[in-house]
């Protein structure tokens, strides 16, 4: 749609041929670029189809409509589209009991399906104690809807997610990462709306991990800790309610992804023999940071032996193609590798050298022309060519499983990590909320 609009802007009449499953997406795209009249014609052809008869039938059924769109004179609404009625955003939107509030928000499409904490004036004011920024501070406009990111809107969504005020510095830094993200294939906009169901994956480093009780040990990605749960959940709501990415309308993920509920990991810096992740990106060990990537998949594997050969063979054997790759070692393997001289860079280089795939397999995955022949079938090629797309970190508890988060992320060199700025009175705030932790009854 954006290309068709760019042609119209340059004086060339355009028709976009689109998949009929993406009509809502096309409407949103043309509206967000302020050219609602740009012409598009749906066909029944699936976007990834390589079936000639399916393509033939789908196009032939639409060819008359496509031709009509190419030659039909402009209509008055196309020449002078009416402005959309200005959306009136009332600050206080509802009054009701817990169930009524939840049904109202759910009915508006503002939740992730789980019940929310009602964002009352009092709760939002409490959340705002987690920042020095005034509530009306405008951080930017979040694509694709270009919703205004104010500190108060972050706080409202944070309350809904069940966050504590001490998470606000993380949420603000994480939202800034989304705002910095570029448009295009490697940017947040594409990952957020893609059929690939990519999920934001947040990695947090620095002393704040312990101050807000982020779990970096056993089950770091499992439910049970407010910080890991609510930070990711709040970011999902921010993407939805500020960025305007809604499932099945703008977010056209085919299968969806449970990681979209929340995927927040803190590096287990205390158990790591290596430098923390954020120091590889120019930050100091005492700094707090949040890093973003957009994995599509998450796998875990168990090495055949606990020596470096077994550990690294298992890692290499489980590398599959992805754009940005995070390998998470449990402390036990990290310590073994480090004790024998392995650095993070050694691991990256080893993976790039040894994780290989059949050249023909790679070509068939990315080929635009499925009839492409392969004359070098015996050759293998590296799965990961650029070690900068690899992230190595240490997290999790006792045990031998290694995790891979496989997917996408910002283009190399673009902002992918943000420093978390703490408000004045941070220590006092931490003290207030620090004891909110689960105390499990032993049985």
């Amino acid at each position: 749609m954006y290309d068709a609009i760019s042609a119209e802007e340059r004086g060339i009449p355009a028709v976009a041929i689109i998949s009929d499953g993406f009509l809502e997406d096309a409407r949103s795209a043309s509206s967000s670029r302020a050219m609602p009249g740009v012409r598009y014609v749906p066909t029944t052809v699936p976007p990834e189809s390589t079936l000639k008869d399916v393509i033939e039938a789908g196009v032939l059924a639409a060819v008359d409509d496509i031709l009509k769109a190419a030659v039909a004179p402009l209509t008055a609404p196309e020449r002078s589209p009416q402005p959309k009625p200005t959306e009136k955003i009332t600050r206080i939107v509802f009054k009701g009991d817990l169930d009524e509030v939840n049904r109202f928000y759910y009915g508006r499409g503002w939740t992730d399906g789980f019940p929310i904490i009602p964002p009352t004036e009092e709760k939002v004011a409490e959340m705002l104690t987690g920042t020095d920024l005034p509530p009306d501070t405008l951080l930017g406009k979040l694509i694709p809807r270009l919703g205004k990111v104010t500190v108060e809107k972050i706080a409202v969504n944070a309350v809904m997610a069940g966050a504590l005020p001490t998470y606000m510095p993380v949420l603000i830094a994480a939202t800034r990462l989304l705002l910095n993200s570029e448009m295009g294939f490697l940017g947040f906009c594409t990952f957020g709306v893609s059929t690939g169901s990519w999920s934001p994956f947040w990695v947090i480093n620095g002393p704040i991990r312990n101050e807000i009780n982020l779990n970096s040990s056993s089950g770091t990605l499992s439910p049970g800790n407010i910080a890991n749960a609510a930070i990711g959940r709040a970011m999902g709501l921010i993407i939805k309610n500020i960025g305007g990415i809604r499932k099945g309308i703008e977010d056209m993920g085919v299968m969806g992804n449970p990681m979209k509920y929340t995927m927040v990991m803190a590096e287990n810096e205390e158990a790591s023999p290596w430098e923390p992740l954020h120091t590889e990106y120019g930050l100091k060990k005492g700094d707090n940071s949040v890093m973003i990537s957009f994995p599509q998949s998450y796998i875990q594997h168990y090495p055949p032996s606990s020596d470096p050969e077994g550990i690294m063979r298992s890692v290499v054997n489980n590398i599959v193609p992805g754009m940005v790759y995070t390998v998470v070692f449990p402390p036990v393997h990290a310590k073994t590798l480090a004790s024998l001289g392995w650095t993070k860079q050694d691991i990256k280089d080893y993976i790039c050298k040894n994780a290989r795939m059949d050249a023909n397999r790679q070509r068939s995955m990315i080929s635009r022309d499925t009839s492409e022949s392969n004359e070098n079938k015996e050759n293998s090629v590296p799965i990961i060519r650029d070690p900068r797309t690899l992230r190595i970190l240490v997290a999790g508890g006792p045990g031998a499983f290694i995790a891979h988060a496989i997917g996408g992320g910002p283009t190399q060199g673009k902002t992918e990590i943000g420093k978390i700025e703490l408000p004045s009175g941070w220590d006092k705030l931490v003290k207030k909320y620090r004891n909110i932790v689960p105390n499990y009854v032993r049985y």
Partner: protein
């Protein structure tokens, strides 16, 4: 003594962000009334069905408009609008030679 249970009521703030209204732009370029003798651009992206769709269109257009000419363009960077790619100058030069253009495939 019976005490009436009081259900707390919550006045709640909208999580939905404000967005500045953007004045819609109308289409300004007249459409060609006949494609015969015209140059038709065929722009395809990386999605697998894109090029085959336009190949069918080219064939059908040739049948109906034998004097039509065709000019192909392949997006230079996956999922990136061409005007945001490094090839914007090439793209704009290509557009200048066209009377109309078909884009495939939107998803």
């Amino acid at each position: 003594m019976n005490q009436k249970k009081v259900t707390p009521l919550y006045e709640v703030i909208s999580p939905w962000a404000e967005a500045d209204p953007v004045p819609p732009r109308g289409l300004t370029v007249e459409r060609p009334t006949d494609l015969n003798g015209k140059t038709i651009g065929l722009f395809h992206i990386w999605k697998r069905a894109s090029k085959p769709i336009l190949e069918v269109m080219e064939r059908e257009l040739k049948k109906r408009f034998p004097a039509a000419r065709f000019s192909w363009y392949t997006e230079s960077r996956m999922n990136t609008p061409e005007i945001e790619s490094d090839n914007i100058a090439k793209y704009e030069a290509w557009l200048k030679g066209l009377d109309t253009v078909l884009f495939a495939y939107g998803d």
